[in-house]
Amino acid sequence: MAAGPAPLGGHPRAQRPHLSKMERVVVSMQDPDQGVKMRSQRLLVTVIPHAVTGNDVVEWLIQKYCIAEDEALHLGTLLVQHGYLYPLRDPRRLLLRPDETPYRFQTPYFWMSTLWPAAELDYAIYLAKKNIRKQGALVDHEKVGYHHPSPATPAESSQRNPSPTSGAHSPGSRLIQMHKHTHPIEGVSEGRWGVHPPELGVGKSFPLETLNHPQAHYDQLHRKINHTWDLVVMQAREQLRAAKQRRKGDRLVIACQEQTYWLVNRPPPGVPSVLEQGPERGSCTARQVQMTKTVDFYKREIECCRKALGRTRVKSSVCLEAYLKFSSQRGPHDPLLSGCLPSNPWVTDNDTYWAMNAPSVAVPTKLRVEQWAFSFRELLEDPVGRAHFMDFLQTEFSAENLSFWEACEELRHGGQAQVPALVDAVYQQFLAPGAARWVNIDSRTMERTLEGLGRPHRHVLDDAQLHIYMLMKKDSYPRFLKSDLYKDLLAEAVVPLEMKRRVFPFMWKPRHSSPSLALLPTSTSGEPEAAAGSPGDGDGET
């Protein structure tokens, strides 16, 4: 609210979809014929209609959406937690009970989609109202040692305090009577409640948990939006006076509604907030409703649709298949899922694993060599793989492709000052007609590159690099995988043995390696299981 006027003509952002779904559910519950059965709530004298029991809600959900009871209960609880439904008896426990506990629907004004994010000014006004209603009871729970004079007049406070049940209460009222003061409304700048935070906040005189959290919020707010405190006080008083013009039943209901809204939006400490969302989602301002569709509105719509058409879309079936393939391929290679051999260094303090998988190691492990077969990118990213690929290309007399590619990478990621010199060197070595290591690029790309060489920047060779990359990927890479060189590498690759479990009763740390699923007979990676003792044997030496 007080965050300032939303920009007029700004593009309306889509609100969070789960909220609109919940709202649709709530609205369909209101149907007079097919909605939920309504009952009346009977308080002492007043009768307030439109109460529903938890049971009714669950049954209606089961019947309308043909879902199981668990799911209906979960859905109902979501509705309650987001504040669309509130319990009448125990307003602080926001969950749906499938029995006779009564609930009521929240007014659309306080729905999450209309009034989000909750503004500090509103919260301040709400707390001020609560303060007035409860005559300073926000500070009821503070422990005694702290002298905080309450400005409430003694007569009212003693009248409003419920019968002193807790010991902390009567000293509190005594304190109130001691400070019998009638101040003028304004002009008390050193303010009882104004100056406190270092002493009050994390009390040395009392433990933190006795501090009622609305009080802490109240003080915080007072500090934060001090400049609008006049407005807060004025509005709080006026809103209460306006509320008095209504019937008692309506007043109760409206107060309940507001309380629920703030319970959801400013949950007490320890209660998880349903509003938490990941960092990438932006905030949703209230939807900009436009009644008159101006030309601008339609222009924006057209632009939006055009952009949407241009976006590439992948079918979810394709996506999912790729994902499944990825998972099944990578599963045995994942150290967390399939265990790492010889042992997890974090568990056993034995870092052979890292030594064996170092970036440049003489003999790569078998898993590593197999990973080169997954994609060309894997091969190029692994220094050992790249070296072997270079060897292979040299036997095929096409090593200049890889050298060119490497030079382009260096250009792209290198320093800005070296760019012109590097471009020149690359041109001389690879692209000039009659160069020593001339690469085969198609004419169009070559033309474009040569044009760009006039004004060199780090991305000027990108097209050529891509072309060579695709060439290597389609041509040399499959041949590499079928070549003898690769097969030899596979054969020579090392498979580390799992470290034996040693059950030595006098050792400090039981050194057991992480359970390696790769050694179970059902594994598909074909590791030899004979050499390693099976994890079940606790007998130490084989």
Partner: protein, 237 residues
Amino acid sequence: MAKEECKALLDALNKATACYHHLVLTIGGSADSQNLREELQKTRQKAQELAVAIRARLTPPLRDRGLGAEERAEFERLWVAFSGCLELLEADMRRALALGTEFPLHAPRRPLVRTGVEGGASGVAARALSARSLRHEAERDFDVEDLHQLEREILKVGEMIQDMEMKVNVPRWTVQARQTAGAELLSSASAGVSSVGGVSVQQRTGPCDLSKALAATIFSAVLLAAVALAVCVAKLS
């Protein structure tokens, strides 16, 4: 004196904004009706008139460079309260528009949310307009045209706020508010006492028990007195 006038107008605007807020709370609920929409319109129009009047009165002193520091501080305080009030009003108007479009009164397939609030709010609107009571004289399709008009008014108020920001430069954070924390409790004689008992009923059974206990003690005291009298009478006769 200009300041007192401004203060009085600001109080009236504050009252109108609070009443408007209170009325907007019930849009889309079970208390929504043609009458409510009409009351909303009247309240917000009154609020806008007041806003224009205050703005006309507050702008000259603030643009006057030769004003004393204390006077200026006073006017700045009023200005901050005024602009805050106006922003609250505008936000409420926007929400009223959103809710009004979502819950049209005469659409058959879109029932109103049954929130348990019934009964009219004409008292609230009358309070905002400082009138004794309110007459409802709207035609049938009032709410649809009203929404169009509401949209126009929102744009107007938005422009007014923008204009205010441009013309008068009052840095908010430098303004010291007069009221301290807890100041609302001080003059709460009229607001607090009577409404407390009613409002807190649903939460705790404490107050209920208190009133019940009170009634019970009074009753038993009366009963005892009656029994004592009867015994005395029986003894004496």
